[in-house]
């Protein structure tokens, strides 16, 4: 039996290792490519170990940028992406906590209608309503601004639904105990609901931050200035298809940099995030 279990463990490890290798190899390749010079990458004989140009490449891409395609250092783009992602994540949490609170705890006329209107926005992501949304943003003179980048992406129902489901699991007695303890609606929200929602908030933050960071289509439309472009767009711009020479080592370095913030967010919030998704105990 012991032998059998060892065999089982071994097989499990082998399969997991293969899985990890499949996922990790392209990342490794990206990293390796970002540490060689342009000609080594281009001629197709790039070794599978890191080269000597790590510092040089990253320094250049972070503070100078590519020579022709993006014209801005990647540090600026990372800042843009970061501001956009964090605004989307925090904005969405703020709006969805409040709207879920209203829908769950208040009895007002057309409450369910309001809920369903919020609900059907699930079927209308930015891609579907892109033209009217663009028109509104441009009429409001928000093109090439952070507001223009973030606000249209804040509006969506996922967060509201998540918090609604969570609030509905909170026993009514807690609200009643708060009432008897003299806590009004706002105090109940602040003292009880928000602390209890922390793990859910963390989970939503992680998801929304990554969602915001990875945005491609919308930033492509609303940003025209180089100084406003986000890092995801920059990667695309760096990979030139015609006429010019793609500086692969710089594009790869940018890709590596683009991966870092989401990775940090996930690692930092991992514990809360997992709790928020699986925990049911109140």
């Amino acid at each position: 039996m012991v032998e059998d279990r060892r065999m089982g463990d071994l097989i499990a490890y082998v399969i997991l290792t293969i899985g990890v290798l499949i996922v990790a190899f392209p990342v490794w390749l990206t990293f390796v490519a970002s540490t060689w010079d342009a000609s080594t990458v281009i001629n197709g004989e790039m070794p599978l170990y890191p080269g000597p140009y790590f510092l040089e490449n990253y320094k250049r891409i972070l503070f100078v940028g590519t020579s022709s395609t993006t014209r801005e250092p990647v540090a600026v783009m990372m800042l843009n992406s970061f501001i956009m992602a964090i605004t989307i994540a925090l904005g969405k949490i703020f709006i969805s906590v409040l709207s879920a609170y209203a829908v769950v705890y208040y009895r007002f006329p057309f409450r369910m209608a309001a809920f369903w209107i919020i609900f059907i926005t699930l079927m209308l992501p930015v891609e579907v309503r892109i033209f009217p949304t663009f028109k509104i943003v441009s009429d409001l003179n928000m093109l090439d601004t952070y507001q223009g980048l973030a606000i249209p992406l804040i509006a969506s129902a996922t967060g509201t639904l998540l918090f609604r489901q969570f609030f509905m699991t909170i026993p009514d007695e807690l609200l009643e105990a708060s009432k008897i303890d003299g806590a009004g609606p706002f105090k109940f929200f602040k003292d009880t609901l928000i602390p209890l929602s922390m793990t859910t908030i963390a989970a939503l933050f992680v998801i929304q931050f990554i969602y915001g960071w990875n945005q491609y289509l919308w930033p492509l439309l609303v940003t025209t200035k180089d100084s406003m472009q986000t890092i995801v767009i920059a990667i695309k711009k760096m990979i030139v298809t015609a006429d010019a020479l793609t500086e692969w080592q710089l594009a790869m370095a940018t890709a590596m940099l683009a991966m870092l913030p989401p990775v940090f967010v996930v690692i930092a919030m991992q514990r809360l995030f997992v709790k928020g998704l699986v925990e049911t105990e109140k």
Partner: protein, 359 residues
């Protein structure tokens, strides 16, 4: 400390469902009133109306001299203990107890004094820094009580506070609640569906059924002289036996072939009028065969309860249960002869269920 007065209190839900159909009674200052009844009888709704968690559709609730119909729960000077305790899971025990006081702006040192005092009374001092989830059911129950005590309310409201505890702990906490309420002298209203809790805790027992009060009285009174068949079968375990019978003259009813005397029977009833006769399992005495007024009881099986035994069988063709101290009656199946004290026979109207007593 205050008296609580309910005058014709009704609860009508949207859609016209009447959960509470006009209830009036009062609880004297320092009294312990238990509302008991089956689930859905409106007892919790009534309690929640006193607490201010449900609006009062009709009638008045007064605490002390003040009508509180329009007063917010926090301003009614009440404290409530919930069935699932409703402790704030993210706060430690100290904060759980202090929260209500903080909200009303009680000075910090006063809060500290009261919380420590309550913790001492309830023996939960070692847990003040812990979270509710780190405590056992009984300890959480104490914290919930503590949260009520620290507010020094005029009225304690208990909504089935013991039903989440195991049987042993329930008995223990029951005693503690009663002791505590006596010591603090605070008026209490306690909702339960457990008739043992109802009997032991109350000095005013309110039996409810289908939104109405069936009987109000001292527990012993309710037990000895139930006002209706519902009360008779609800209070007491095992429940009272109900047998169909007929009036056979003044103070006499017939049960099948046998006749028994009844002390408390209305005198204006026609002979042959059908009635229902209630006999408590423990109010039955063993007689010798053929003794005057004795009834044949065919025992079919016997349940052991330790101190007592339950004899299940048939009396006058109807299912019947008798309770006797172990050893008092030979525990064997077969025919027994029994008599009943005329003082302990209850007669009810078969249609309305009302007691057909002298008044």
């Amino acid at each position: 400390m205050a008296q609580v007065t309910l005058s014709n209190v009704k609860k009508v839900y949207a859609g016209g469902v009447e959960a509470v159909k006009g209830v009036s009674f009062d609880i004297p200052d320092g009294g312990f009133c238990v509302l008991v009844g089956p689930s859905g009888c409106g007892k919790s709704t009534l309690l929640r109306m006193v607490a201010g968690l449900e609006t009062i559709s009709h009638g008045e609730v007064a605490i002390g001299e003040r009508v509180v119909n329009q007063v917010e729960p926090a301003d009614r000077d009440i404290a409530m203990v919930f069935q699932n305790y409703a402790l704030y899971p993210h706060m430690n025990i100290y904060d759980n107890m202090a929260y209500g006081l903080r909200n009303r702006g009680t000075p910090k040192d006063e809060i500290d004094k009261r919380v420590k005092e309550a913790a001492r009374i309830l023996a939960i001092e070692p847990f003040l820094e812990r979270r509710p989830r780190q405590l056992s059911g009984g300890q959480r129950q104490r914290v919930a009580m503590g949260r009520a005590i620290v507010r020094k309310p005029q009225v304690f409201l208990f909504d089935e506070p013991l039903s989440n505890l195991d049987a042993k702990l329930r008995v223990q906490m029951r005693v503690e609640i009663k002791k505590l309420q006596r010591a603090l002298g605070v008026t209490a209203i306690y909702v339960t569906h457990d008739q043992v809790e109802a009997m032991t805790l109350s000095d005013k027992l309110v039996v409810m059924n289908a939104g109405q009060v069936e009987q109000i009285g001292l527990p012993a009174e309710v037990y000895r002289k139930p006002a209706s068949k519902f009360v008779a079968t609800f209070i007491g375990s095992p429940p009272m036996n109900i047998l169909p019978g007929a009036v056979d003259g003044h103070g006499i009813v017939a049960l099948g072939d046998a006749i028994i005397e009844v002390r408390d029977l209305r005198e204006d009833l026609a002979v042959q009028a059908p009635v229902e006769v209630g006999l408590r399992p423990e109010d039955v005495e063993i007689a010798s065969e053929g003794q005057a007024g004795s009834l044949p009881f065919d025992v079919e099986f016997i349940e052991e309860l330790g101190a007592t035994q339950l004899f299940h069988g048939k009396l006058a063709g109807q299912p019947f249960v008798m309770q006797a101290a172990t050893g008092e009656v030979a525990a064997q199946e077969g025919r027994l002869w029994i008599t009943v004290d005329p003082d302990k026979v209850h007669v009810f109207d078969p249609k309305t269920g009302a007691r057909l007593g002298k008044g």
